[in-house]
């Protein structure tokens, strides 16, 4: 009896010795996470807490600021600067739509038609990043300058008549108008649209196009029913990567716009660095963050549940 009992579990022990992992081994993933976590705590969480406390302080630069739980700053900021908020959303939205309209065909071409030129075209897409963002935006100032070739051409084609009627340009000027700011935003964020679009298009199995064609779908229907729905992850991440930074951008409005095209980013910059009204600046930042979070959540919910695989 005793012999059978001791012999019976002869097989399981192999699994048993392997099961309890050594303590040190189990902690390794956490040690690997630590640098990243520390980085986030020091450079993301702490500044957020600091800014949150700033936004509810009152006082002046001379007397110092104190936390007084003064939430009225938020209402005041919103009441004073809602046009800039609205403008930010409109400009960023227009730039995002333009980026999608320009970027999708290009990403499609790179993914399906570029063949051996694919890598070269991809490098060209990110090539602008090799020079400073500021320099490139300044270059647009020259490109769009009054009486320059672009403006003359647009004028000759009567495009400016239409955009002026829409309130996007001002007579014969493009620089210092909403159109210039939107163009700048579109230009600067285009790669952020193209790259995610390309990644998700490139993943689509080419045989799905053949299968759709085989099942009586014309090329246009194949795009509408197969390619586009399957590229939705790229569309969503591309629009987010474009819209979010564009909504908070101030450089384009600063360099290419005028006082009439100020976006919320410009207001925050001015409040922080020139007027030195830190609580208002911090409150504006939080309002912008909350607004973007809400918009993004709604957007992901709406696009995500329907078509994403």
């Amino acid at each position: 009896m005793t012999t059978t009992v001791t012999e019976e579990p002869a097989a399981p022990p192999v699994a048993k010795t392997a099961r309890p992992p050594r303590k040190r081994g189990r902690l390794v993933p956490y040690w690997l996470l630590l640098p990243g976590l520390l980085w986030l705590v020091v450079f993301f969480a702490l500044p957020m807490v600091y800014q949150a406390s700033t936004s509810i302080q009152t006082g002046s630069l001379e007397d110092g600021f104190k936390v007084t739980w003064h939430f009225a700053t938020y209402w005041q900021a919103l009441a004073d600067y809602w046009p800039q908020f609205l403008r930010s959303v409109l400009y960023a939205g227009a730039a995002t739509i333009l980026c999608l309209a320009l970027g999708y065909p290009l990403a499609y071409l790179i993914a399906f038609r570029a063949g051996r030129w694919r890598n070269l075209v991809l490098i060209l897409v990110i090539a602008p990043f090799f020079t400073s963002f500021l320099i490139r935006t300044l270059a647009w100032k020259t490109i769009l300058s009054d009486g320059g070739p672009v403006v003359s051409a647009l004028n000759a084609l009567h495009v400016l008549d239409v955009t002026s009627w829409l309130g996007m340009t001002d007579g014969n000027r493009v620089l210092a108008t909403p159109l210039a700011v939107i163009c700048g935003l579109t230009y600067n964020f285009l790669p952020f649209m193209i790259l995610p679009l390309y990644t998700s298009l490139e993943r689509i199995d080419g045989r799905l196009h053949e299968a759709a064609g085989d099942l009586y779908a014309t090329p246009a229907t194949t795009f509408r029913k197969v390619t586009f729905p399957l590229s939705m992850p790229g569309v969503v991440s591309g629009t987010l990567l474009t819209f979010i930074p564009a909504a908070g951008d101030y450089v384009n409005a600063d360099l290419l716009g005028s006082t009439d095209t100020r976006m919320v980013g410009n207001v925050i910059q001015t409040q922080f660095l020139r007027i030195l009204d830190y609580p208002t600046a911090a409150a504006l930042s939080f309002i912008l963050m909350a607004a973007i979070l809400i918009m993004v959540t709604v957007y992901i919910r709406r696009s995500g549940t329907e078509d994403l695989v």
Binding site: D205, L208, E210, A212, D214, Y216, L308, V309
Partner: protein, 384 residues
């Protein structure tokens, strides 16, 4: 050619070249309406390219594709009345099973698809899975969805591109019968591309064996097996033993051949090579047609049979039969499959034996070809 069969697929002088590489040599092929036709060959032989030219996914470099009386050579795939079951299925991952199957109907503007899709899903036994996404199904189920998605359109021709390649052996056997059943039920012409000779022979009425962009031989499976016209077909479909021989003379309907020191008999009707005296001929015989007798009992072998002496080099018992490899002066590795009805225990490696067979099973091929052609593939399949 046939003019009364309105649904035949007719390929005339069709070829495909990529730069300097010729994937399909100019090819004439007629697939009769309602038949189950298999294009069989090793990978790279041009069978898939041929299929894709019928589907319209590949543009032929020359020649025409006719479906019945309609020349479809210039039509894009979405205008052709054919549907394809793709290798690895190509199901739409963002659509559920119902919508995958309904895809073709919707594109043709059919309004109420529910009944048809339901019936089709029942035909392939997937009625319960209609609202699942493709990735939630097993390989065999996905395969059936792919078949349903194509069949629901009632194409003139259904093209199947290695549809069972991704399935395991057992499921593959099951699906072969299933596809055969569906074909019989719907009566649509099936053109099936495969590299699996057993699959082609099990399912198809007619098999075209392709090699290096050409059709080597075309015929019913049994006919191809019994009367291969080339060493490639003889080796690719099953296994064959070959002996190099010389025509010694002719008596009635039989040729007498000299091979080594011995004499073999070959029916004239089964010799595709020149039968003139003195010509070299490759004599072929299938392993299962050969009987083995121990050398001590050589006297019991009836007269009139072809016989060769040899020594057992290897034997492997595989249940229903035993496979022997025999060394002989005429051929260093003669394969013999013997049914395990009465096993002679003396037939162990090293034993001297006599191989003998009915001359009617012998076939003769032109000696100017590679004896090994098509053989490597068979070994590869046997190993898999």
């Amino acid at each position: 050619m046939t003019t009364d069969h309105g649904g035949d697929v007719r390929l005339t002088g069709i070829s495909k070249t990529y730069g300097s590489f010729t994937a399909v040599q100019p090819l004439d092929l007629t697939v009769p309406e309602g038949s189950f036709f298999a294009l069989l060959g090793a990978s790279g032989c041009g069978k898939t390219t041929t299929l894709r030219m019928i589907a319209g996914l590949e543009e032929p470099s020359s020649g025409t594709v006719m479906l019945g009386d309609q020349d479809v050579t210039a039509l894009p795939p979405y205008k052709r009345p054919v549907n394809t079951v793709f290798q690895s299925y190509a199901l739409f991952p963002h659509l559920d099973i119902f919508e995958n199957v309904a895809f073709g109907l919707r594109r043709r503007g059919v309004k109420s698809v529910k009944k048809q899709v339901g019936e089709m899903l029942d035909l392939v036994q997937l009625g319960e899975q209609a609202r699942k996404k493709p990735h939630q199904l097993s390989g065999g189920q996905q395969q059936r969805v792919a078949v349903a998605r194509a069949l629901i359109n009632h194409p003139k021709v259904l093209l199947l591109d290695e549809p069972l390649g991704a399935l395991d052996l057992k499921l593959r056997r099951q699906m072969q019968l299933e596809l055969k059943r569906i074909q019989t039920e719907v009566g649509i012409t099936f053109i099936h591309v495969t590299h699996d000779q057993e699959e082609a022979m099990t399912m198809a009425d007619t098999v075209a064996v392709m090699n290096a962009g050409r059709v080597e031989q075309l015929g019913a499976p049994a006919d191809l097996y019994e009367n291969p016209a080339s060493t490639f077909v003889a080796n690719f479909l099953g296994t064959s033993n070959f002996i190099e021989a010389e025509v010694a003379g002719r008596s009635g309907d039989d040729l007498t051949l000299k091979a080594g020191g011995g004499k073999l008999v070959l029916p004239v009707s089964r010799c595709t090579a020149s039968a003139a005296t003195g010509e070299k001929v490759l004599v072929g015989i299938r392993p299962e047609k050969i009987s083995l007798t121990h050398a001590d009992d050589a006297g019991t072998i009836p007269d009139g049979r072809n016989r060769i002496t040899g020594r057992v080099a290897d034997s492997s018992f595989i249940g229903v039969s035993t496979q022997y490899v025999i060394e002989s002066p005429l051929c260093d590795a003669f394969e013999v499959y013997a049914q395990n009805i009465e096993r002679d225990s003396r037939l162990a490696p090293g034993a001297e034996v006599v191989l003998h067979w009915n001359p009617a099973h012998t076939f003769g091929l032109d000696a100017a070809q590679d004896i090994e052609a098509g053989a490597a593939k068979v070994e590869e399949d046997a190993a898999a």
